[in-house]
Amino acid sequence: MPDAATVTDRPETSVEPVLQCRGLRKAYGERVAVADVGFAVAPGETYGLLGPNGAGKTTTISMVCGLLRRDAGEVTVAGRPMSPEATDAKAAIGLVPQDVALYEDLSAEENLRFFGRLQGLSGRELAARVAEVLEVVGLADRAGDRVGEYSGGMKRRANIAAGLLHRPRLLVLDEPTVGVDPQSRNAILESVEALAGEGMSVLYTTHYMEEAERLCDRIGIIDEGRLIAEGTRRELVAQLGVGDQVEVTGTGDLAAFAAACAELPGALGAEARDGSVVVRVEQGSTALAPIVAAAERTGVAVGGVEVTEPDLEDVFLALTGKALRD
């Protein structure tokens, strides 16, 4: 419990978070789906919950949205306590479920009008919002077609549109790209980026590391119902303590070059290999210039430089001893 609190209470978020949850817990009989999860999403922030199948992402989101009664913990959305009965807190949320949660026998427009009305929209405002969100997801020209006649990717986009109608303070997306072709996936990621760019707060779950890296300002890594690490991509990678890796290919006295590199500020170690030197540094981008200078000093002719950062896959592997799927 104290651990969760230290993870959640980020001193730099002085503005009131759009979503704040603490100590969430949910068990189905013997199986504990979510053991102790707490995090906060600041206004305008995109927060990713990254974890493998069965980690507890959907269960966490269900408690966040007041779909599921929690066994313990607290959720506040836009300052209002969330519960299954809390219609005011729910009004601040736009949920995009993992499945295509639309009526297939209605057109996209009819679906959107329906969900918009339930969000309290009506008249001109409703018509305008429906047209706008159809535009956002690129379905304006197919608005009158029945959702059942859409391709898989189009259904996904319509699914997202339905969560945007009432301009929610917090958009919650549960693995929106699962089972989607690369083209649609890209379209979906772009629209999420665009929405985040307009200042919407987003809670995004995924088990795709690249999506979390691309979209999210901060990422919580969840496994077996627990948040095991949290931070920006860089912070998470820094926790690993292995640093970035800069590989310099070249000719000359590579051993002397490696020794010089090892002395550089921020260097964690350097090693001469066959035709190249591998330097581990805290941050690849800032270490690059000193490394090239060291090469000049030691008379090494540089053929090429490659910087590799450890990714979240490595972080997850280091933390759990397991690989994220894919």
Binding site: D88, K90, L95, P97, A101, D105, F115, L118
Partner: protein, 387 residues
Amino acid sequence: MSQLRAALVIAGTDLRRRLRNRSFLVQGVVGPIVLATIISLAFGGVHNDIEATIGLVDADGSPASAGFVEALVGADTGDLRFVEVDSPEEARRRVDRDLGAAVVVPEGFAASLRGERPLDVEVLSDPDAPISAEVARAVATGFADRAAAARLAALTAAEVGDRVPGDDVLAAIDLPLEVTTTGTGGDVSPAAYFGPSMGLLFLFLSMGNVARDLLAEKRVQLLDRLRAGPVRDGTLVAGRGLSVVAVGVTSLCVIWAVTTVALGAHWGPPLGVVAVILAASLAVAGIAGLVAAVARTDQSADVLASMIGFAFAMVGGAFIPLGSMPEGLQRLALLTPIGQALRALADLSAGSGEVGAVVPQIAALLAWAVVAGGAAAWALPRRVGAG
């Protein structure tokens, strides 16, 4: 956003989806009408004129009963004929042969009006002659009702003055002639009976739809999306209930219109018919909600709905007119909502009842709606809800 408005939005969309679906046309309109037409033909045609001979037995011999028999036998009622029969036994023998049905005013009837509990006017009927049975029932009810009214008036008078109502008062019992004369207009056509009976049967059989829809919406997380909005679980359920009522009313009203125009059926005073249709649809909605609260799969929902639907239809007289059932079965039929609705509609159709006469049936249907609907309103939000 009020929860009431949300419920109406949900009901509206639900209704729109259902009416647009071809299965509504089949289950809600075409099916019942086709079946009603076929059964009506089997039961002696859909023509308007009633051709029947009804026996009348005056076992009582009181001025009131004599007047009743005399008035009917002497009345010009077209192809509907009334004949006097000497004894209940003879009437019983002839009902299978030259009589369609018979009405027996039992011995001691007039005298019983002075006592605590008046005797019943008995109807003898033949299952193969449902029209005659309905006419006989209408006549008997009309007479008994008026006898009861006269008794009440007499007893009230007796409170003030005389202790017992005299023969003169009882003899003045108004005769139910209007029943028979409107009856010749073709009131009790089989189509007016089987139209609603088949409509109700199909409504009950389609009760599983509510459960099916909720289960399907749960599967694709549509319920999650709805519940993540500012809509309470109870509102979601109420919206579905409203839509079932609307579907029921629509279906029965279309059947009413079609059987009236195409088959010449006469369902009776519109206000009464609408009240019965509404009450029956409310009962269907309540029971459908209960089915949805119990059913865990599509299959179990359908099985439950057809079991309940057919049981109510068989017992309630959807296949054999209530009027031609033995007394005991008629009473059993009234335990089912289909039986109550058909009893009410048959009474309205026969013209023996104004709207007021079917209040007990409407109350019974509403009781079904309240009890089943109440249980569903308690259990169903928990089914769709937050576990």
